[in-house]
């Protein structure tokens, strides 16, 4: 039984960590880290609504999160307010809405803790199958469009002149990000998932100067932190989400040390 739980957590963790570390590269180079925080927190409203209505599955949280992220993206594109301000408004609305809705449902504290910090026991076989499916689609999507996103990060005007459908890809990127974040919440939680949007690329930047190395080290460090975090959580009986993130921070510190020694 426990091995089943650990296996499911490991599979879900590896799938989402690879996707998030690929996304992390563009989030960091485009200086959009706050966007990750905003989207992760905007999923809170949808998950809380799920509890209140007694629904299972991901349809409502993903719909809620995707709509919120598209709204952030739209407000930013229109240039009516800065991206940070747009994210902030959606983020606080969704958190307030989530707390309000959760307070109306039974098991307020338990549900709240699970959403915010993850709960490894709640990862089901269905979550595993869904994570693998999203991983396959998301992985192919990001790799297929990698050089498209690369030029968009370099200069969007050049991307447009190169014939890239800039707006379409921009919105799709946010959709993929919000779906992956919702899927990762059970294992890692809303608060801690942001680590996977920043740390992979920060580790990569410490170990490599070029984008291929940064992406490769980002993916490897993410997988390592998932494996190490779940193992330590099992032997020390600690919360998996928090332990995974702590393992990632330790890897990041090692990468800083390596960078200093190398220089």
């Amino acid at each position: 039984m426990i091995w089943d739980i650990l296996f499911r957590a490991l599979v879900v963790g590896v799938c989402i960590s690879i996707l998030l570390s690929l996304i992390s590269y563009f989030v960091v180079v485009r200086k959009m880290t706050f966007a990750g925080v905003g989207i992760a927190h905007s999923a809170f409203g949808g998950i809380a609504l799920n509890f209140l209505l007694g629904f299972a599955g991901y349809l409502l949280p993903i719909t809620f999160s995707v709509l919120a992220s598209l709204l952030i993206a739209f407000m930013y594109k229109k240039g009516k307010m800065s991206e940070d301000s747009a994210i902030d408004v959606i983020f606080v609305f969704s958190m307030a809405f989530g707390v309000f809705v959760l307070s109306l449902s039974d098991g307020y504290s338990t549900n709240m803790l699970g959403i915010l910090f993850g709960n490894i026991l709640s990862v089901t076989r269905y979550d595993m199958v869904l994570s693998i499916s999203v991983f396959v689609v998301g992985f192919l999507f990001i790799l297929y469009y990698f050089s498209h996103f690369q030029i968009m990060s370099y200069n969007e005007e050049l991307a447009y002149i190169s014939g890239i459908k800039v707006d379409r890809l921009y919105y799709l990127f946010w959709v993929v990000l919000s779906v992956v974040i919702v899927l990762s919440i059970k294992l890692i939680g809303i608060i801690l998932v942001n680590a996977f949007l920043v740390l992979p690329t920060l580790v990569g930047l410490n170990l490599s100067k070029g984008y291929k190395g940064i992406v490769a080290f980002g993916v490897l460090s993410s997988i390592l932190s998932i494996a190490a975090g779940i193992s330590v959580a099992y032997y020390m009986d600690t919360p998996a989400g928090a332990t995974i993130v702590l393992a990632f921070v330790v890897i990041w510190l090692f990468s800083i040390a390596y960078n200093k020694i190398r220089i």
Partner: protein, 258 residues
């Protein structure tokens, strides 16, 4: 080559460009001058299709812009303002020069021998061949700008549109760059539109000058322009042209600065 007909651009109900019409021939080197906020960047972005005009049309090779882009794609080399490029990207100069050659699954791409030779050639032309495998964030602003010029040329464009290409480039290389651009226009018949605040260089190297301040105040051969009169109209300042023996035959100095 490039025809603009009755082009008007309004942003938030503010008129940025007012009824601009012009015709630029193949192989012409055109300099656009005007004060800050005159609409110079808006004009080139509208020609490139980055900004939709409120009214009017842009034709390239007798085709509407969209049709030209679909048919020819990379035949326009564009150098945006230095400040709006993400120079902190972890890419090498060779990657930056080839960044517009977008491929599916580009993370795993390897450059062909022809691509690398072409990059080397254009980096050499712009004097930064030795930086081919350096990271762009490690270059000076002037070197980054030269890398951008090499990127513009890598697709053998028919049209070059340059927004303040001399930003951060030192005085010595500035002259070389203008001479190179003039050579590209006359020898390779590349049509060049260049926005610049470098009045001296523009009046010396370009074939035609366009003076813009929301409206197009003049568009004529460099030698035919009464620069003092036009600049007074466009910049709103009394200008005096001082002609030197060598180097800059038409440089303008603001009286107030004398």
């Amino acid at each position: 080559m490039i025809t603009v007909k009755n082009l008007t651009v309004k942003i938030d109900n503010k008129v940025i460009l007012d009824d601009i019409s012009m015709n630029i021939k193949k192989g012409e080197f055109v300099g656009i001058l005007g004060p800050n906020g005159a609409g110079k960047t808006t004009l080139i972005k509208t020609i490139l299709g980055l900004i939709k005009p409120t009214s009017g049309l842009v034709y390239i090779d007798n085709m509407e812009l969209d049709d030209y882009m679909k048919k020819k794609g990379f035949y326009i080399g564009y150098l945006p303002q230095h400040a709006i490029v993400n120079w902190s990207m972890p890419v090498r100069v060779v990657d930056a020069v080839l960044i517009e050659k977008v491929r599916p699954f580009g993370l795993f791409r390897r450059y062909s021998k022809e691509e690398l030779e072409s990059v080397e050639y254009w980096l050499d032309m712009f004097g930064v061949k030795d930086k081919m495998y350096s990271y762009i964030r490690e270059l000076s602003g002037g070197q980054q700008q030269r890398v951008s010029l090499a990127r513009c040329m890598i697709h053998n464009p028919e049209i070059l549109i340059l927004d303040e290409p001399n930003t951060a480039i030192d005085v010595v290389y500035n002259t070389k760059m203008y001479e190179l651009l003039k050579g590209l226009a006359s020898e390779k018949m590349i049509t060049i539109i260049m926005v610049s605040h470098d009045i001296g260089a523009v009046t010396k190297y370009v074939d035609e000058i366009m003076c813009l301040n929301v409206k197009l105040h003049c568009h004529s051969k460099t030698d035919d322009v009464n620069i003092s009169t036009v600049f007074k109209e466009v910049y709103g300042e009394d200008m005096e042209i001082v002609v030197h023996g060598d180097g800059c035959k038409n440089c303008a100095i603001n009286k107030a600065e004398k």
